[in-house]
């Protein structure tokens, strides 16, 4: 009996606080979400003085356009707003933004100071958490750079929400084209990542191909026929001064790219009909040969760590992708799918290679892991070629040409997931884009 009593007490004791007697938290696992653009609101920035009125509006529009262009965000039109932002400093009425389902809210203010200096401030709010997302930031610059400041705000917003760096404040160099296929004029052009601010770097006289940015964006390498023969040429983007590299008579040089440290160039050199890969030190001019095979070796691209080079070779009979050490030597084939592979480009994150693939009469832009696994084709058309990565490795831009006598070329971009294929809004035709790093 005593035992029974003790037991009873013991049990009673265990069960004593009934409220605690639950079974721990309810656990749920969610492995399906939705892939859709996140709604955000960016009310026109507050103009803190009269001179800033137009700028404030324009800056908000550029921010919105940047974010929307990613396909990851969707702007809620301001006609849906319940409350406005009348002052940068006033607290946010979260409920008003929740009510219109704005998940992110961007507020900001612009003022124009003496000497045309403008100040742009912004804050980002996670509406449903009733909290700001990161600190507010303020950018100061010249009036001329207002678009860049808008891009910087958009980059911040993008980074805070996605957890990866942005890419809006960057530029793209490409070949601007005009004229029919059989008499096409090509010249180098440069633009902001959103297609604004187009400027030409060369005149139309000589054929130019495939420009590439230096790692810090100060120079551009390209192939020019200015001498009558293809020659790799390096141009200073600010002064437009240029010089050709490796002028050896009886050879052609093309397909250049910078090494990640910017001090040397890897490229193709053709001699006697055979094309191989070389590097050249830009300071000393010293050249070294990385491949020597009777096949075509071209389109080299460094890994971001500078240790490896991926390139195209037709040593197997058709163009395929190979990876070798940056010093040359044995190369390992990485492309094994049906078709022909070329123009490989190592991603800035280092984990992927983008390429052009020809298969069954169509061209694709695709990505694969650096060992060739997990190949995914992102696009398909009559002729897509020449991918380039956004500085954060998230977006790929490339050239697309339509078929037939009236075929025209245009620049397109696509998210690395394969979504959000869009044509770049630029005047005229273009090909061979190359993305700069994020601007400082």
């Amino acid at each position: 009996m005593l035992r029974v009593m003790i037991l009873f007490l013991a049990l009673l004791g265990l069960a004593a606080p009934p409220a605690l007697a639950q079974n721990g938290p309810l656990r749920i696992v969610i492995d399906q979400g939705v892939i859709e653009p996140m709604p955000f609101a960016v009310p026109d920035f507050v103009a803190e003085n009269r001179e800033a009125t137009q700028l404030a509006r324009d800056i908000s529009r550029v921010i919105s356009s940047d974010l929307t262009s990613t396909g990851l965000f969707r702007e809620i039109p301001n006609s849906a707003y319940i409350s406005g932002i009348t002052s940068f400093a006033s607290p946010v009425q979260y409920a008003d933004w929740k009510a219109i389902n704005a998940q992110a809210l961007i507020t900001g203010a612009v003022s124009v100071g003496p000497g045309g200096r403008i100040t742009v401030k912004f804050r980002l709010f996670d509406v449903f958490s009733n909290a700001p997302l990161g600190e507010g930031l303020q950018f100061t610059g010249t009036t001329d750079s207002w678009r860049r400041m808008a891009h910087k705000v958009a980059d911040q917003v993008y980074a805070r929400i996605t957890g990866e760096s942005g890419y809006f404040d960057s530029r793209v160099v490409f070949v601007s084209e005009s004229g029919p296929k059989n008499n096409r004029q090509k010249r180098l052009a440069i633009m902001d990542s959103d297609g604004a601010g187009l400027q030409y770097l060369t005149q139309g006289g000589a054929l130019v191909l495939a420009p590439r940015f230096s790692p810090n964006g100060d120079r551009v390498l390209y192939t020019s026929f200015e001498s009558g023969f293809p020659r790799i040429t390096v141009m200073d983007v600010n002064s437009l001064a240029r010089r050709s590299l490796d002028d050896q008579r009886g050879t052609m040089t093309f397909a250049p790219r910078f090494a990640p440290d910017g001090t040397s160039v890897v490229y193709s050199l053709e001699q006697g009909g055979n094309t191989d890969i070389y590097t050249m030190n830009l300071r000393t001019g010293a050249r070294s040969r990385l491949t020597s095979a009777p096949s075509i070796e071209t389109g080299p691209s460094y890994s971001p760590d500078g240790k490896s080079i991926v390139f195209t070779s037709d040593r197997s009979g058709t163009p395929q992708l190979y990876v070798m050490s940056a010093g040359g030597g044995e190369a390992r084939r990485v492309s094994f799918g049906q078709g022909r592979y070329s123009t490989p480009v190592w991603s800035p994150r280092g984990d992927m290679i983008a390429f052009t693939k020809q298969s069954q009469g169509r061209f694709h832009i695709g990505v694969m892991r650096t060992d060739g696994s997990e190949e995914r084709l992102l696009t398909a058309s009559f002729l897509d070629e020449g991918p380039t990565w956004s500085p954060n490795g998230r977006v790929i831009m490339f050239g697309r040409e339509t078929s037939g006598a009236g075929g025209q070329s245009a620049l397109y971009s696509v998210d690395v997931s394969g979504r959000n294929l869009r044509r770049m809004p630029i005047q005229g035709a273009g090909s061979d884009p190359a993305w700069s790093p994020l601007l400082p």
Partner: protein, 168 residues
Amino acid sequence: MNLLTKSALVVAMLGLAACTDPGRFGGSADGAGGFGAAGLGSASDPASPAYFQEAIGDRVWFAVDQSTLSDSAVVTLDGQAGWLNTNTDYSILIEGHADEQGTREYNLALGARRASAVQEYLISRGVSPNRVRTVSYGKERPIEICSEESCYAQNRRAVTVVGTGAGS
């Protein structure tokens, strides 16, 4: 940028503009530096470049992805070699081309292969190597612009452009 810099740039640019495309007057779209395309003359004059171009045939064609010379190409090139061995004042520039079914840089290399195949053959037929240069335009200079095999076949070519200014 001050006025002085601008002026300097203008001068520089004019200097450059002066040396564009000597070859545009010949059969080819872009001329190679130091290579002046010859006046064509009359096709009825067997010693004229026009005769070379029209009667002998200045170009040969290739199969997809190939740079080997076909039988008919060899016949044409034999004719070219004979003419060149007779008219030794002329030098030649061999342009290699590819169709649009390929990526730009690979096609540049492919065009170079084709030009080189022609070069080697002509040399083997007695043309002095000093008189011959090659260049590749890849897919940049198509003749026919439709996107069908009939056009592609015309564009996969090597063209022998006769010029003055020997192989300096």
